[in-house]
Symmetry: C2
Subunit: 415 residues, 2 copies
């Protein structure tokens, strides 16, 4: 039998309202709880539901919605995953982040078709029903918007004080099931010289992106299921591309057409957006894999903590494969400790990292930095910013810093 | 570039309404699809939602509800996961199966408390807030009701014709996050001689089960999160036991008290139910691990298939650890082929198995049988039934047989 963990235990008793060390109040509480059953045990509970919903007491756990052009295009913007309220690595379907450029189309799945055309020997057309008879694979993968963490980029010189989800909530994780795109392309037979695909969505924005054929033939899915059930409308119902590890915008939702071509098209949404402007004024056109990133979700911005034993918990992921290591600092980056990882870090999926910490009540600054299997490690915000033009916000994987004040309040700070 | 798969491709063209082999109609369709954008691309889509929901066209994907005592206790019964509609291995929270004995209690999480008492040196009391500061771990695990697959047991001598979920839908899978029970017990310090735990739920049934202390100290969780978000009310909000691989009833929901004792209590729900009656009239009192099982979910009962290329897909799991192998038969068990597995089978979590098959249109009977790391393999329904008294239904892991008629209809048959 292992020995009791004193810090944890005394903290618990403190929460019980007693003096540190004394267990008497705990026992008193225990005696009380041993008495009468609570009122909710005195009456039969509610019966069954065909499709469940979260507890009413959790109703405030929702996606934060930003609509920068609300008057002209309310469907252009984002809905961000409340990372600070979640644990583990899977995002429930109702809270998976949304990035849409002109709203969620009302697609009739019986009329929706996926066309494969262009430089192919066989033009092919698939209904969702066709694809449901194709071989499928299942993978747990993160999808991250290239604009995620914009509040931590150098586009916001004035410090913002927001919750973790508002800063980093354009990343979510699901178990995706779909048809390997390599099978469909194998049936279409791309012609010699074809090197790229143009993927087009069936939304009012006709979202179009260029994708290297090499990646398309490697591990890309035409996904139909998300965490077991058919994909949600805002995630691309009835089908979407899932491009493991690459920027979210390439994971084209409501997938309608795949055109095999020789060169990229430099579509609007890969030139006006998602390119990286350097200090010398030159831009990187295509930045496909999302860089290694980690963020502490508990404690995080807007939360308030009490002194004593704490469990520090966060997420780490990389578009270059698996995370190899996560380090946590409680002193603003002067010293680092290796965090525990929840199991073996998977490919292109987040790993939950954890560290137990006893907070002495003095002001502190919590940071985390991840290193991936390619050897990339997160930089400070200053280091990251120096690599880009002022005002740049895409592909920001800078280290997140959480400041803990003496009163236990946690805020976003820029280091 | 891989060669096109003719069976798949010609099947697709057939669905396109053309003669087998001819691609012209496919091209015609393609041309059509290349024309005007569909109507849902002509108007802005709907804006964002704080919490999402499935597509309206998927509204019939829900849990099948059975309430055997509907008049006196509508909250006693089951809601079954529609396995035939799902893919991958994760069950979305809204569709996780329910087994409740007197409904879902309306628990106030601010007043709910977990008491650890009995043969311990320290009586401890935890609020959900206390546990949220404790160290946590995350694991993907199945939970299966001991009464699952009752329609496939020998309690139903007359063949039933039901969908896969109605027969086997009392098993679901989620990513569970919670506090290792070993930590809480370590703080409570069980006394010498203590060998069992009595877990009690805060529902109107005060569900109570005896659990060996050895398992409790091994891998049992007091779970607070399910697929990332706080546990749903029907799954035990605000906290439940999760007992990897063991029968569902031990995963006590709405966990209220844990009493450390020397002997099991033989509570009502472990004597009147969940025990295994042998032909000689003697019963096995405790059957904890759920036996190895597999079931083909597509094609399955109530579905209708067309001749040609098919993707056969199903789930396999074992309470004894990981699944090692799944075999599929298309001729009623005369011959078996090894199915492909989606990745390395995890411990106490299902693996999706897959097999491509070209159906020639002649009547056929599809079976699957799984073997786990302990060497256990599923038996036929006749073999399984012979080991128990007539009318026995618990812990049924017999092989499921699906009959495909010449018209493509699929039904449950007993072999």
């Amino acid at each position: 039998m292992r020995r009791p963990r004193s810090p944890r235990l005394s903290r618990r008793v403190l929460l019980g309202g007693a003096a540190a060390g004394s267990l008497a109040p705990g026992a008193a509480l225990a005696a009380r709880a041993g008495d009468a059953a609570p009122d909710w045990m005195q009456v039969p509970g509610r019966p069954f539901r065909e499709y469940g919903a979260p507890a009413p007491q959790e109703a405030d756990v929702g996606r934060e919605i930003l609509q920068p052009y609300e008057d002209v295009s309310p469907g252009a913007g984002v809905a961000m995953t409340p990372l600070e309220d979640l644990e583990g690595t899977v995002t429930p379907n109702g809270l998976h982040f949304e990035r849409s450029h002109n709203g969620v189309p009302a697609i009739d799945p019986l009329r929706h078709e996926l066309l494969i055309h262009g430089e192919v020997e066989r033009k092919l057309l698939f209904t969702p029903g066709d694809l449901l008879r194709y071989p499928m694979v299942t993978r747990i993968l993160f999808i991250e918007c290239a604009g995620n963490s914009f509040f931590n980029s150098n586009a916001f010189p004035l410090a913002v004080d927001e919750a973790c989800g508002m800063i980093h909530g354009l990343v979510s994780t699901a178990e995706w099931t779909g048809v390997p795109l390599s099978l469909l392309l194998g049936d279409a037979r791309p012609r010699r010289g074809a090197r790229w695909l143009i993927a087009e969505g069936a939304d009012a924005n006709a979202m179009s992106r260029s994708l290297p054929l090499e990646k398309a033939l490697d591990d890309v899915l035409v996904a139909l299921y998300q965490n077991g059930e058919r994909i949600r409308p805002e995630q691309g119902y009835p089908m979407r591309l899932v491009v493991p590890g690459w920027e979210g915008n390439l994971n084209v939702k409501w997938l309608r057409r795949l055109k095999v071509v020789e060169e990229p098209v430099y579509a609007r949404d890969e030139t006006s957006k998602y390119s990286d402007l350097r200090p010398d004024g030159k831009a990187l056109q295509f930045t496909f894999p999302m860089d290694v990133k980690s963020v502490i979700t508990r404690p995080s911005g807007g939360q308030k903590i009490a002194p004593g034993f704490l469990h520090v918990s966060g997420l780490a992921w990389s578009g270059h494969g698996a995370v190899r290591r996560v380090e946590v600092s409680t002193d603003g980056g002067n010293s680092w400790q290796t965090a525990a990882l929840d199991g073996r870090p998977p490919l292109f999926a987040p790993v939950r990292f954890r560290m137990n910490w006893t907070w002495d009540g003095a002001p502190a600054t919590l940071l985390s930095r991840a290193t991936d299997q390619a050897g990339h490690r997160q930089e400070s915000r200053a280091e990251w910013s120096a690599r880009y033009a002022h005002g740049h916000l895409y592909h920001c994987n800078a280290i997140q810093s959480w400041r803990i004040e003496a009163d236990g309040s946690v805020t976003n700070v820029y280091l």
